[in-house]
Structures are given as structure tokens and as C-alpha cells.
């Protein structure tokens, strides 16, 4: 399940950390269609559309289907969102219901900006 939006060079929301043309490769680990996981997918799509329109890709991995993939990204908690690109790798666990925290986690917003 991969969703891609068109690249949008004009976004430039966070110049210090994100080069405008940068592509966000995101991977979301879930375990079946539990309420938490469904919420996480919905929340992620929402955040991406709003802040990363056109320059993101989302890969959703269901560990119930492919358990052997869990160790690759050191998955303990579910759901876990892993930012593969840009480097460095960042992990966000939970159903992504706190948008501000998700943005901080994806480094789309400086950490002190949320306080």
C-alpha cells in the first residue's frame, strides 16, 4: 500500500532542517487492522497531505503478514512510523494522534516550537 503525492518544491515549511525538494520516505508498521493501526494510517495520511504534499511516500507493513520484517527496523511497539529518508532515521510510535508531535518527530518543526 503505497501513496505518493507529486513533488512540491514550494512548500518550504521548515528551511533549517528540510531542504524544500527533499523526499520523505515513510514506513508505517502495523499489526492487522486494529483500531490503533487504522487510526495511525488515517492520521499519517492526513499529516502528509497537509505538510508534505507531493514529496512523500508511505509504505505500510503489516507484521501479521510479514513478521520477518519486524526486526529490520527494530520494531517493538505497534504502530511505529519510521522515517527512512531523509537521514537520520526517526521513529514515531503510537497512533499519531498528536499532530504537533508527529511534525516534531518528522523534524518538520523544531522541537522547541511545540512548547
Amino acid at each position: 500500500m503505497t501513496t505518493s503525492g507529486p513533488a512540491d518544491n514550494s512548500a518550504g515549511l521548515n528551511p533549517p532542517t528540510a531542504v524544500p525538494a527533499e523526499l520523505f520516505a515513510l514506513r508505517l508498521y502495523i499489526a492487522g487492522m486494529s483500531p490503533k493501526c487504522v487510526r495511525a494510517i488515517d492520521n499519517l495520511k492526513h499529516v502528509c497531505e497537509e505538510h508534505l504534499a507531493g514529496r512523500y511516500s508511505i509504505e505500510v507493513i503489516d507484521l501479521l503478514v510479514a513478521p520477518q520484517l519486524a526486526s529490520g527496523d527494530e520494531i517493538v511497539a505497534v504502530p511505529t512510523l519510521v522515517r527512512q529518508l531523509p537521514q537520520p532515521i526517526r521513529r514515531i510510535i503510537g497512533d499519531l494522534s498528536d499532530t504537533e508531535k508527529v511534525l516534531v518527530g518528522l523534524q518538520l518543526r523544531p522541537r522547541n516550537g511545540t512548547r
Binding site: Y29, A31, S34, K36, R39, A40, N43, L63, L64, P67, Q68, A70, S71, E74, I75, V76, A77, V78, P79, T80, P88, I89, R90, R91, I92, I93, G94, D95, L96, S97, D98, K101, V102, V104, G105
Partner: protein
């Protein structure tokens, strides 16, 4: 009503009703726990950093995989697979090979709080899935979680973690898997997390303490539901062969008591001991410096080798080369037996690596080499490696280890000259433990020191009460009688002088005797001559008397015949009347 006493002494409190156990394969631990960790249940191993928790877990898994047909899964939150593998590789454990053989799966979880952000609800399904996947792919029966705090500390939502951990432990238990959870902070910490109930079927504490600059590791089984277990603190070691727990006090006094006696290699010493020492018994040799303790020990080992047995010499104070040289100088050729592979000399200072490691090392050599006689020279050196209580305990264990295996033990111990204490004590208090006790003493007289040997104690033997002089010659040690006289015990040159004096006195006495004998012979000859002369006189007299007697008789007869003739001529009365007439007339 019959009373039954649970058999705890032998350290194997397993019975028919005991719960199933999963053996750890760790020497001593299975003994202390009566067969291993509770199978199908959870065990908490707790101890500070570096106390050996992870190693215990790994050994548990490896033993299960290799020897019990129980593959295992290791979930590590602390180390990477490669780190772990290289850490235990020095112990001869090849984790990579085990993984390749499908006997073990190591899943390393790297949880970095710094690169993780929590937003909203989550659970640990990822952990479950990984564990379930690992368990199912190799049919694992054993699981180790190392270390639980890392997991607990990695995430901020403690309520979720706690609930998930409990769910995990239940999940494991429902599948009948044996799980070992390691934790750093102790049991109380887990009750704070509220998970104690789920991890405490069995709780083992590992401790790592430094006392007077010497570090000792200790293990204690704090709790074991449904099973008897040893309750003491047991020293344990991390050796090149893995963990070794050394339960001594749980060892029962149930070793066999062979009646066979073995020779000490010196006939007169055997005689002193009532025919040698019993096989499998322990003998202590005490004495001041230079009294010949090591020599006697070496002699006894050489005697064992000559019988075709194997012997181990544990030297605490000398290098093997020095020992060989020194013993060769008194006629004991140990080198020959070393070359023949029946004698092994293990030299090392216990203080260099601690009492426990020393014990484990000796134990390992004993098991590998299989000697029938072991010399420990000198146990005094152990006293530098711990406080008196520890040393005594270590020696007790060391001697017990040997006895348990039917190995004859010869321990030497130094007594310090001029110490206020009685010279007949050992510097290490084990004299009550050993079966026989040889006392060597230096005696200074006439400006020289000589060695005396004495059997102070010999359990089960009618032994001599005599002191002997002990002499080291180039032909080997010898025992000699000592002179006990008005001047006391004579040894060395005093004994030689006394022997010479005795020889002179004997010569003198013999001369006097000879003189008197000669004198007697002269006297006898004289007497004989006189007797002969007297006898000759006597015989002459007797001959004279006989002659006179016969002459007299003849004359009488002649005279009677004449009288008869005359009477007939005179017509005299018959003889009777004549007599009466003669009587009246005469």
C-alpha cells in the same frame, strides 16, 4: 507415626512430586536448584551490571539447545547479536553456529529513546510478533529476555509497558515456554512495576562484591515456588568454561570410605601410619618452613605414579621447573612422571585470581586429568587470598571436592616459627577436617636443626605414637629412629655421636666380658686339675682300703680254720656250747 526428613543435605532436593525442571547445564546451579529452573514458568535473574546475568541466560539457552533438545530464543535489549556472540565466544560458545543450525534465534532490539517519539496509543505487538515468529520458526522451548529494564525504560508510557509486559509473560506461560528474565535493579523494583507476580516463580540473585580488594561473585536462590532449593549464598565464577557455581555446604557427607590403603612411598612412614593412608582420604602435613612438607607430598605423588596412577601437584609457591629441580636434589624424580604424562603440575598463586577461580580451575583440571592423588602445596598461600573464614571455607570445599571424587588429598600447611600459638596448629584451620595429620618439626640442638616427624592424627588407623627423625638424602627421604634418653630426644649429629658412644660402650663391655671369660676358663682348668689330683688320692686310698679289707678277711678265715682244727684236736664242745663257755670264761 513415621517421620520423614527431607533430604536437603545432598543438595539434590528433587522428589517425585517436584515440579518439572529445565536444566541449565551450569555446574552447581542445577544442584542448588534441585535440577534446574522451573520448566514452563518464569525465572527472574537479578543483579548489578557485570554480575553475569546475560551469561547465565545464554548458557541456559545453549545448554537447552545442545543437550536438552530445547531450542531457544534470546531477546536482547542491550547488545547486538555480534557483540553478544563475540562476548561468549571466549567461553567456547558459537552463537552464530547455533543460529545457523536452527537451535537458537537471537533477536536484538535496539531501542533508542533519543530517536523515538511517542504520539498516542500503541502496544508492543511488534515484540509479540517477533517473539512468536522466532519461537515458531525453530520450535523454541526456552526464552530469555535480557534486560527487562531497558525495555521498561525506553518508553515513557509506563502503564502501557507494564500491561504489555504482563501480557507477554502470560503469553509465554500459556505456551508452556520456560522464560528467564534478567533485571538489574532487584526484586523490589519489579514489584513497583507491578510485574513481580509474573516473573517470580523463581528468583535468583547475583551479587558481585568486593571485600578487602578481593572480588567475589555470589549467587543466591531467593525464591523458588514449588521446589526445595539451597538457600545459601554460593560463590560462583565466570571461568573460561562458563559459569560455575560452587555449592559446598549443600554437599552431603556421603562419600564412600574405601578401606584400601595406599603407600606413601616410604615403608617406615607407612608403618607409622598403620599401613599407609586410606585411598580417598585427606592428609595434612604441617610444619615450619623447610621441614620437608613439599618433599613428603612429592614423594607420595611419585609413589602414586609408580603404582600406575595419575597425580596432580597444585603448587602455590613454586614454578613447576623449580619443583622438579628441588625434588630431584633429594632423589625424587618427578620429571620422569611428568614426561610419562601421569603427573601434572599446576602452578599458580591463588591471590592472583581469587579463591573461587582457583577452586574452579583445580576442579576443572581434576575432572579433565582424573588424578587419584592430589597435592596442594601449600594451602597457606590461600590465606593471602581471602579472610580466614573464606579461606577455611575454600579449603573445606577443595578437600571436599577431592573426597567426593575418591581422590587422595595431600595438603601442606606452613606453621610459623616462633608464633605465640602452639606449633601444632595449622595456619589454616582445617585440622579437624582432614583424616590424617603429619607433623613435621625442626629441632635445634648442638647448633644444628634436625627434622622430626610425627603422626598427630590418623582416622581409622592404629598409628604409631613414636617420633621419628626425618632425613633427606640424595637417595630420597628416610625415617630413622630417634634416641630417647636422659638428654631427651637426640637427632642429627647428636644421634650419630650417641650411636658412636654406644658402639664404644658395647666394645668395652665385650672386652670386659672376654677377659672374665678367659679368667673363668683358667679357674676352671685349675679346679679341674685339683679335682683330678684329689680324685687320684681318693682312688689310691680306696685301693689301699680294699687291699686291707681283703687281707683281713683272708686272715680271719685262716684263723677260723685254725681254731676249728684245734678244737677237733682237743675234743672241745660244739660251736654253740663253746660260745657259751667262751662267754662265761671270756
Amino acid at each position: 507415626m513415621e517421620l520423614t526428613i527431607p533430604r536437603l543435605a545432598a543438595g539434590t532436593p528433587h522428589g517425585a512430586r517436584s515440579i518439572p525442571k529445565a536444566r541449565t547445564g551450569i555446574r552447581g546451579l542445577d544442584e542448588v536448584t534441585g535440577g534446574g529452573l522451573p520448566a514452563g514458568r518464569s525465572t527472574l535473574i537479578t543483579g548489578a551490571a557485570g554480575s553475569g546475568k546475560t551469561l547465565l541466560g545464554v548458557e541456559f539457552l545453549v545448554h537447552g539447545a545442545l543437550h536438552e533438545g530445547e531450542p531457544g530464543v534470546l531477546l536482547t535489549f542491550e547488545e547486538s547479536v555480534d557483540d553478544l556472540a563475540s562476548n561468549v565466544a571466549s567461553l567456547g560458545i558459537d552463537l552464530h553456529q547455533l543460529q545457523a543450525d536452527g537451535l537458537l534465534i537471537i533477536d536484538a532490539f535496539r531501542i533508542d529513546p533519543a530517536e523515538t517519539i511517542e504520539t498516542g496509543a500503541y502496544d508492543l505487538e511488534g515484540l509479540f510478533i517477533r517473539l512468536a515468529y522466532a519461537v515458531e520458526s525453530i520450535g523454541a522451548k526456552r526464552i530469555v529476555l535480557d534486560t527487562i529494564e531497558v525495555l521498561l525504560g525506553a518508553m515513557t508510557d509506563q502503564a502501557i509497558i507494564r500491561a504489555e509486559l504482563i501480557r507477554l509473560l502470560r503469553w509465554i506461560k500459556d505456551r508452556g515456554l520456560t522464560v528467564v528474565v534478567t533485571g538489574e535493579r532487584g526484586v523490589n523494583q519489579f514489584s513497583r512495576y507491578g510485574i513481580e507476580e509474573y516473573v517470580s516463580d523463581c528468583v535468583i540473585l547475583l551479587d558481585h562484591r568486593v571485600q578487602e580488594e578481593l572480588c567475589t561473585r555470589r549467587l543466591r536462590v531467593m525464591k523458588y515456588r514449588g521446589s526445595l532449593h539451597g538457600t545459601n549464598e554460593y560463590p560462583f565464577l565466570i571461568t573460561e568454561h562458563g559459569l560455575v557455581v560452587l555449592p559446598s555446604t549443600s554437599m552431603g557427607l556421603d562419600y564412600a570410605a574405601p578401606t584400601e590403603r595406599v603407600s606413601s612411598g616410604l615403608e617406615r612412614l607407612d608403618y607409622l601410619l598403620g599401613g599407609g593412608i586410606y585411598r580417598g582420604s585427606s592428609m595434612l602435613i604441617t610444619g615450619e618452613a623447610g621441614t620437608g612438607k613439599t618433599t613428603i607430598a612429592a614423594m607420595m605423588l611419585a609413589a602414586a605414579c609408580a603404582r600406575g596412577e595419575r597425580a596432580l601437584f597444585v603448587a602455590f609457591e613454586e614454578s613447576p621447573a623449580q619443583l622438579l629441580r628441588d625434588m630431584a636434589s633429594v632423589g625424587i624424580d618427578l620429571g620422569r612422571w611428568v614426561d610419562a604424562g601421569v603427573l601434572r603440575i599446576f602452578a599458580g598463586r591463588p591471590i592472583a585470581y581469587g579463591l573461587e577461580l582457583h577452586l574452579a580451575t583445580v576442579l576443572h583440571i581434576v575432572e579433565e586429568f582424573g588424578p587419584t592423588v592430589v597435592a596442594l602445596d601449600a594451602m597457606t598461600a590461600l590465606s593471602q587470598a581471602g579472610d580466614p573464614g573464606q579461606v577455611s571455607s575454600a579449603m573445606t570445599r577443595e578437600i571436599d571436592l577431592m573426597k567426593d571424587r575418591g581422590i587422595t588429598t595431600i595438603a601442606t600447611s606452613l606453621t610459623y616459627a616462633g608464633s605465640a600459638a602452639s606449633p601444632e596448629t595449622s595456619s589454616v584451620a582445617v585440622t579437624s577436617l582432614v583424616d590424617s595429620w603429619l607433623l613435621l618439626r625442626n629441632r635445634e640442638t648442638n647448633g644444628e636443626r634436625n627434622r622430626l616427624i610425627f603422626v598427630r592424627k590418623a582416622r581409622g588407623s592404629a598409628h604409631s605414637n613414636q617420633v621419628r627423625e626425618f632425613v633427606l638424602t640424595t637417595e630420597g627421604p628416610q625415617l630413622l629412629d630417634v634416641y630417647v634418653g636422659a638428654q631427651g630426644v637426640l637427632t642429627g649429629s647428636a644421634r650419630l655421636a650417641q650411636e658412636a658412644a654406644d658402639r664404644q660402650a658395647a666394645t668395652r663391655d665385650r672386652e670386659v666380658l672376654d677377659r672374665r671369660r678367659r679368667h673363668l676358663a683358667v679357674l676352671t682348668a685349675e679346679a679341674d686339675a685339683r679335682i683330678a689330683a684329689l680324685r687320684a688320692g681318693l682312688e689310691a686310698e680306696a685301693a689301699e682300703v680294699a687291699y686291707l679289707t681283703s687281707a683281713f678277711v683272708t686272715r680271719e678265715a685262716e684263723s677260723a680254720a685254725e681254731t676249728e682244727t684245734m678244737s677237733q684236736h682237743r675234743w672241745a664242745d660244739p660251736a654253740g656250747a663253746s660260745a657259751a663257755v667262751n662267754g662265761v670264761g671270756g
